[in-house]
Chain length 450, copies 3
């Protein structure tokens, strides 16, 4: 792991291959590439985005036809949009979809009509308290149309007749999502899920899509214990469609993360799974506590992203939500200020490193047995301990060794030991490897993550 | 529930019938009516008080003869008092029972003698640090007599000969208590207990007696799950007598509250039952946390009111203590300052509302099952959710619906959900009713309160 | 217990015999007596120290031959030292072992050579940040030699040729430890262990050795429930040797304390056993919370004194560590400033009192049954309660009686009641004795300490 990330090196093969100094730049670059695309919960924007991901990993695209029942829901008609604008009396475009896809409410039905300012205002969304920002609005399940604009744009409109044009279509088609499986030694899966339904919002969620794409790409060829399922799907309906089509297979998911809004400098924020004490909850909490950042760990609540579906009572999967700033708590949220200048390569690198370290712990946790459980083994004789006694300070590695030896009774995993000693898992694991090499530790069971 | 109470309406039939704006005034009015009566642990003062209650609800009066063994105790002789005074050398009454019944120590034996100031002082109680207040004193189980007076009264006495007269009687008779049972659908009981042994102390406990009388009166005709037993008995010996005569029946008590000192503006204070995690403990804690007041929740301790008996190890009933200011912590406690100006209708209304909401939760808690447990049901389609997505704020009702759906797996009661979501039970219950009406929720078990 | 100790008297026979006002002085006096001896992990310094202890109690000295395998360790060669010095070019002794045994690194091999200042410096330890103090250094398991001196001594050395002489021997011999068993009614043991391997360091650990010697002496003739094993052994290797030779017998240890650094005015500090909830952990925590001192209670960690061995996973004995200032946290630690002026009789008395009260609780805890469990017994009738009701304050003894009666259901020991009521064990036990004398309590089981 690069020195620029979280200060602690992952010294496993896995960690070294996953994290390099340029990861943040590469994630940013891909986020910038998919930023302009006008995505919604269905339509060609999603397909174009998935094709971009597919150019990096062997993504499988799935198409679910309009009208398909998925649990309590029905796949809606497919929405596509070509152009939209408002022209004033002089024929000038005062609002233009070509300049920002946020200016049309997502799923707006086709419209071509002339109307007064008063009539137009019934179909306009603004943010009066953030007068320079365009809000992001949708109306997936109620047929409607609207333009979104800045409060200043609205206030500049004279009282005249306008032409409003939305060249969209809402027709039978498909809902599209993509998935990529990195196969590990076992069928047990680690789900990594990002929503791909938002248009030009950089943090929410070009950042998450790009981060997972880069992670999937870097895992290619890596030997892992778990299989890793990357899911790029429209929010809510996409996750529901996936769960409906993989109801039985979802039982293989042993750990999972929903990844969104990972490019800003806030947080980080982790919301625990509904179970609250899953391995994923403990591992991410541990990684964040030792990240040097100022994390917030929240209990599960049923509002947020697709963890809502994964953690619905009929599934109750061990899936948490990882973000930087918590959704809805920052002024940029769901506005035109969530653009490429809001996300930074260094924050993307930090977020990526958190996930890479989480994977590293999930892969490498395990319980060991001290082979000399009665009294301490003589570490000095083995060159494992400073030989001049009496010094006041004791190095962290010495402490870690003592903790591992003391608690390795088969009942405590390395993560347990890391938590109880308040030392980073990486240090605990490193000394466990050293102790194992010296015959002082033997593997005796799998850890909390199993 | 009236807007003037705790801010949250109880929208159940029960709640609406129990609480109206004028409850506080009615409780105050009844407290004022019984305030002048000179009560003690036996005697006609108790009987008069119980007759006043009986004029409002069909109270059954019980008489337990002097000498009856009740566990480790024996019903004492009955005490009655007609008059008492101290006359100075000029024949002037310097202390007069007719003006305040606090001026004679309760259970004082008859006295009619002339004595010096020095001799008199051996039979005088004052509060030197509160020189304008008369203390409240008793000597139930040691034969004695004394006058209670203000420190200033004492200091004004000249060194002369006084005549001390206490025209009381201590004779074989009865201990009297009253009980009223509101019969519900089941024999399981909710005990509401107030002590009726204190003379003219408004808060301690005319307030509790009046509150429970009004509650009992308003429950007439109400259909409830539990039966509600209202017990008006002298402190300690009265509760012991009731328990001795109802040893087996006490097993029906599933919830209980001792109610005292509920008219001042302090607290509120709730002291948990000895069990510490009874339904009553959880419910009152929940109600108080959402009351807008500044409650104190205390663990059980064996000093206080009749919860001492209900929570003795041989009974260990789930009975807590509800008060405003905690007994013994305020300067008015057990003094002549605990008069009618110390209690207020608005505080009585608040206290009453806490108990009414407690009953409402105990009656209405239950566990439900989400009928669509896999992924979320589509609330928008049913008109249960705002249809324009993307807005930053989410209404409390939406959150409550999501919580109820997410946790209604049969293992979580509505109270569990209210606690975990930190939302008021009333909101949780209201949305549960809505969800049930839409077929999204079915009753599957009873809740924590059962 | 003397008024000068912890404010609360131990009123049991045990407590009165153990603690008198002069205990602190006697412990100090013995610590001063053994302070000058040059101890190490083997050799005559340990034997001389044990003989001093043996002059007070019937200590049994054990000799373990060099080369004996004790778990992962081997008893090292025996080290003895007669003299050591550094002479400058003028023949003046610039460093002299005869003045302070700290000036030679413990276990230094024999040396007699002339060397330059530069060569000498390779064999010198100082404390540059504490330039007036000599550090304490050892090299038990790596053959080496060195002098320890103050930074000022080092800086005063001119660039000339020195003669360095260490007249020591490192030869096959023995490791020596001593143990004394106070036999109680049962074979269950309370282990009290102090390390005897440090040279002239007063607090670390002449204080601990002297405290336990005095405790053992005062227990002679005392009838106790437990047997008390006092172990005086070199740190680490001594405890390991004892455990290796008493592997099966160690199972008798039901409680234990490692005692070190008990003469300074810091702390007190208690580090819990690895189990974390042993009786010893609860009892010492209780004693310290009610000591009037400012204690720190720490969770177990595998770095410290011989609790490392007792709490190794193969033994996992309920042994904690009691100290005043925590090792390694004060500037005097392992330096020449840890001399007799650093320890004080009053602190030794406090430390001794903590241990005496711990023993008193361990000996006297037990669970009782309230003989009148239904409602409260009438305490007033038995003269156990103030007879004039209504006073605002209630004495601590009254509260203690109510707690004992309320919780004495056979499931709560006196220690449980002391913890829950937040009252000192001594008060709880005293009222339990009174209640038992009145037939209100019967012994029904042994307590948490059993």
């Amino acid at each position: 792991m690069s020195p620029g990330s979280l200060g602690i090196e992952i010294q496993t093969d896995l960690g070294e291959q996953l994290v390099t100094q340029n990861v943040g730049e590469e994630i940013f670059s891909f986020a910038a590439r998919i930023f302009p695309i006008c995505r919604s919960i269905t339509g060609d924007g999603v397909r174009r985005t998935l094709r971009e991901i597919g150019s990096r990993v062997a993504l499988e695209m799935r198409e679910v036809p309009t009208g398909t029942a998925v649990f309590d829901w029905t796949i809606p008609r497919e929405w596509n949009i070509r152009d939209a604008y408002i022209r004033d009396g002089d024929g000038a475009k005062v609002v233009d979809f070509a300049k920002s896809n946020l200016q049309v409410m997502s799923y707006s039905i086709p419209v071509r009509k002339r109307l007064s300012l008063a009539e137009l205002k019934k179909h306009v969304h603004t943010l009066p308290e953030q007068p320079d920002l365009i809000p992001y609005r949708t109306s997936y399940y109620a047929e409607d149309w609207a333009f979104c604009m800045t409060q200043r744009q609205l206030e500049a409109l004279r009282d005249e007749t306008y032409e409003a044009v939305i060249d969209s279509s809402l027709e039978d088609g498909f809902l599209t999502y993509g998935e990529y499986l990195h196969e590990g030694e076992t069928d047990d899966e680690f789900l990594l899920s990002a929503h791909v339904c938002h248009p030009s919002l950089a943090n929410d969620n070009c950042s998450g899509v790009a981060l997972l794409t880069e992670l999937a790409r870097r895992m290619i060829g890596l030997k892992t214990r778990y299989s890793y399922r990357f899911l790029f799907a429209p929010g809510t309906i996409g996750a529901i469609a996936w769960l409906a089509r993989n109801e039985e297979a979802s039982g293989r998911i042993k750990h999972g993360l929903v990844v969104s809004m990972v490019g800003d400098g806030g947080g980080p924020t982790y919301k625990k799974s509904r179970r609250g004490d899953s391995a994923i909850d403990r591992v991410v909490t541990h990684v964040l506590r030792h990240s040097g950042l100022t994390p917030t760990i929240e209990d599960f609540s049923p509002y947020g992203y697709d963890e809502r579906q994964y953690c619905s009572p009929g599934f109750n999967l061990p899936v948490g939500l990882f973000q930087r700033s918590k959704h809805g708590t920052i002024p940029q949220y769901h506005t035109s200020a969530d653009n490429l200048s809001f996300i930074k390569p260094e924050h993307l690198l930090e977020s990526y490193s958190v996930i890479a370290r989480t994977i590293d712990i999930i892969e490498n946790d395990g319980a060991y047995c001290n082979t000399i459980p009665k009294c301490e083994p003589q570490l000095g004789r083995r060159g494992l301990y400073r030989s001049i006694g009496g010094k006041k300070d004791i190095a962290i590695e010495n402490m870690a060794m003592l903790w591992v030896l003391n608690l390795s009774d088969g009942a405590h995993s390395l993560l347990d030991i890391a938590e109880r000693s308040d030392l980073p898992f990486e240090v605990i694991r490193r000394v466990a490897q050293v102790l194992q090499a010296h015959g002082l530790l033997t593997s005796c069971a799998t850890g909390a993550a199993s």
